[in-house]
Assembly symmetry: C2
Homo-oligomer: 200 residues x 2
């Protein structure tokens, strides 16, 4: 069986949200699975020296418009959150803890976190907001809180982020498809063709 | 009649070359014309503070791969030039001089300059290379050389660049379609939908 597609993202990245709503259905067309990997994008920015996109003169203003238009282009609900960027460490840690127990539940959690932030304007940087999602999914919130404070889970996010950077990640979403890297929600059509043709 | 689509580019920008091969046929589907506007992208980088893409750690390496893959994705001939970036001032000045006399010839010249650099690895920053193109198109090369040294033509490139930056240009290709800005060859599908639907 072919290797899964790797999908690195930060919950605070708008284009990552857009991609998260489409990558699984794209992969399944070709009988492929997707490994979802939340990372801390700030660490990649330190390596590349790149500034936060929305703070760049001219490009920042354009990008806000492009994000909203790209959401409409992809027929996805979207509302730019009041507070941006969000601190996504708790959500990322929680994802890896959940993933260790139940992949499907972890995927549901990731979708819920993305949608809370990018559709419903809930600040996922606030722990109570994350815990509300946890509760809603029927997960034990005490166990969740204990888990995200353990050294193993804390290290996990750092390790995954370092591994992504080692694979060339400098922004998100970032994908690896059979050794070929793709960056951006706007590269989904290229990933589709790559999977359909085995590379072009 | 609807306004023409504005298309700002730098001959030294690989994604501009890719877009240059597709924008006219896209526009004509909707009975629209395209105003081609070579500019000095370096001036926009000064405003945005952005570095030259290919020099950014991680992102630079990815981008070279992405450019070559995007060319294949769009079924366009492409070979990364030995010398990059190229100085494109003479070609840009020549374009505006030609455009004042014969729009069609100016368009042919622009295509020839793009292809010389991005397909045939000719350094368009060298004046003899530009003059070879001029000769090939049956243009008087003495008149060309005289024209690109005139203050009016020199000012023109600066004015067009300033005008593009005033419209928000921070990278190339940059398009304006009925007041809506689009950046990147990868936004051609969005431009297509925009023209088809009158905005979305």
């Amino acid at each position: 069986m072919a290797e899964p597609i790797e999908f690195w993202f930060d919950f605070s990245s708008p284009y990552s949200y857009l991609a998260s709503e489409r990558i699984d259905e794209l992969a399944v067309k070709y009988g492929r699975k997707v490994k979802w990997r939340p990372v801390m994008l700030g660490a990649a920015f330190k390596v590349s020296g790149l500034p936060l996109l929305l703070t760049v003169p001219l490009k920042g203003e354009y990008s806000k418009r492009d994000i909203e238009r790209s959401a409409r282009f992809m027929d996805l609900p979207f509302a730019f959150p009041s507070r941006f960027p969000a601190a996504t460490l708790a959500a990322a840690r929680g994802y890896y803890w959940l993933h260790g127990q139940d992949c499907t539940l972890a995927r549901k959690f990731a979708h819920a976190v993305f949608r809370a932030y990018w559709v419903d304007d809930c600040d996922i940087g606030e722990l109570p907001v994350v815990l509300e999602i946890v509760d809603y999914l029927g997960i034990d919130s005490d166990a969740f809180m204990t888990a995200i404070a353990t050294p193993a889970i804390k290290d996990r996010v750092k390790q995954e982020t370092d591994a992504a950077i080692a694979q060339g990640m400098f922004g998100a979403p970032y994908f690896m498809v059979d050794g070929e890297p793709f960056w951006g929600a706007d590269r989904l059509p290229q990933i589709d063709k790559w999977l359909a043709t085995g590379g072009f």
